[in-house]
Amino acid sequence: MNLTDVIVTSLVALRSNFMRTVLSMLGVIISIAAVITLTAAGSGAQQGVASRIKGLGSNLLFVNPYSATPPGGIAAVLGSGGGTLYYEDEQAIRSANIPGIDETAAQTTTGGAGSLLQVQAISHGVNSSTLLVGAEPSYQYVRDFYVASGRFISQDDLDKKSLSVVLGAEVADNLFGDTNPIGNTIRVFAGVSRQFGVTFSFTVVGVMERKGVTPTGDPDNQIFVPLTTYQTRVPLIRNPRGYTNVTQISIKLTNGSKEQSVKAAVTDVLRRQHSIVNDDDFKVQSQSDVLSTATSVDRTLQVLLVSIAIIALVVGGIGIMNIMLVSVTERTREIGLRQAVGAKTRDILGQFLAEAVTLSLAGGAAGVATGVAVSFLISYFANWSTVVSITAIVSGFVFSGLVGVFFGYYPARKAAFMDPIEALRYE
């Protein structure tokens, strides 16, 4: 029997029991659809993470305090990672004139999830839980994050330690709604609880553009005050030089600069600055470092989901095997007749194997179609970008075919090795 005959024969057999055929394919359909959808959603999320992290500003290095041994005491409570990074460190990096560095910006950040110290922005009785950022004027340029209206923190603000505040878009919405916040006064509370904290009054001088949520935080839910004001007014951690701690230094690189060499140079400067012999008390990370951390979480999740889908595929395969065994039993007489008119063992084997593979491939095709459709619906309605990869589609087909061969073999073998006389006599 040639291949066309085998395929036509199996299609005729499958069509004659349409409902059963569809039901037996369901397991494969669902699992392939799940794989396609999950990988599409996963790579969509990954791509989203990548584009958003790039949206932080191109070619960025981040310096953060870091301790190999977890911080204790007040540092742990404040979540500032040991507080071993200073404004002076930024000055040192600047004065080192490292080639490849365009601009730097130091900042302090207080509040937010994971920190015991909460920050509230208050206006006309409306409270908005937020993040308090002490920033330098260079922040806008370095982070590629600009004011939409009003102005950002200026050098003048820094020098005068003025009580100016720039609101994130979200905070502005929460506190002022449609009215223009610029010129208004807000109160900012920073503390552990209502009873234990401090409150300041700030004048709104600007509102930031809207950026959208990133994997590393919500830039729209922040308020920015001059770094110097922060350091004097919110004196939470004192170091030997005074209140000059910062929580992060962002370094913008020039186009085409060598990330690794800048990283090494910055590390050198900071080691000298901190008189470090052994363990660094800081960490220099590039965007791609942050990116890989963020995506590795996604990948773990994806592996987990895909393994669940593979289990579903195996269950689907068992469903196909089950229906093929029923089919072989039902068609015992047909098998006997085919043997009587000259079908060889391999003809019968091929026929039933082809039926199983057709079943699973059709299931795979339906699964791919469903998966692509669901992915489309997700990105359309849930606003979650999905990327359907060719790899996922091809492997969906290949795996469903393999499932057909694997789970179809036993029933097909059973059919092929029937005794023709008994098969013909079967009622």
Binding site: M1, L337, A340, G342, A343, R346
Partner: protein, 254 residues
């Protein structure tokens, strides 16, 4: 030519040994038209299955056209069934899903033949079913179904046609139709025909009747074919009878 020498077949039924066939010697020459008769359990069907290469004897030698069948492997046996033999069954054994053409073309698919549809249509015309080509078995009467089965048996140009009670499920009238086709195939095409039956008027169409009892041949008589064995309805005047023969003859001439 079929030559059986000392063919025996035993089954084990639990602790019991059943002798289905005992030391059968039988020669069927090319072009013969013969019936195998005998009561139930006499071994007719077992003998038919062995001749049809569906079963292997426990002992003895079966030569088909000079080939010792015992030496053939399963695939070669399948090939013998496909090319040299044709089968007709009591219960027709048509596949429910296929139309007449596909039923008849099916054996050809196992030898990878081309123009299978054409050959199938030709075979169906031969048995008088040229107007039922696209009908499914459920749309055909018993006699028509058996004629589809005969077309399927002869589509591959076998030298031997074997039938196990081909008229067992048919009424008298259609039984005679089927026998007319057999007779025409034998006379016009020279196909060797051997079939099992327990109906004497059906066996009367043949030129040789072998009788079996308890697995042994108890009678092997030549027979003078009589075509008017149905009382009161001689086949010569039967509206369908003869016409098959004429159709076959016409086909052979064309």
């Amino acid at each position: 030519m079929i030559r059986l020498r000392g063919i025996s077949k035993t089954y084990r039924l639990g602790a019991q040994t059943v002798h289905a066939l005992r030391d059968i010697d039988l020669v069927i020459n090319d072009g013969e038209f013969m019936a195998i008769m005998g009561p139930s359990g006499s071994g007719k069907s077992t003998l038919m299955n062995i001749i049809g290469c569906l079963d292997r004897p426990t002992s003895g030698i079966y030569e088909l056209d000079g080939i010792n069948v015992a030496r053939l492997g399963d695939a070669q046996l399948a090939d013998v069934r496909n090319r040299r033999l044709g089968f007709v069954f009591q219960s027709f054994n048509l596949l429910p899903r296929l139309n007449a053409i596909d039923q008849v073309a099916m054996p050809l698919s196992y030898r990878g033949a081309r123009n299978r549809k054409k050959l199938a249509i030709k075979a169906l015309n031969l048995v008088g079913l040229g107007s039922r080509l696209h009908h499914n078995p459920t749309q055909l009467s018993g006699g028509q179904q058996q004629r589809v089965a005969i077309a399927r048996a002869i589509v591959g140009n076998p030298t031997i046609l074997l039938a196990d009670e081909p008229t067992g499920a048919l009424d008298t009238r259609t039984s005679h139709d089927v026998m007319e086709i057999f007779r025409a195939l034998n006379e016009q095409r020279g196909i060797t025909i051997a079939f099992v039956t327990h109906e004497h008027d059906v066996a009367a169409y043949t030129r040789r009747i072998v009788s079996l009892r308890d697995g042994e041949i108890v009678g092997d008589e030549p027979n003078v074919p009589s075509y008017a064995s149905t009382p009161g309805s001689p086949v010569d005047t039967h509206p369908h009878a003869g016409s098959f023969g004429q159709r076959l003859l016409g086909e052979a001439e064309a």
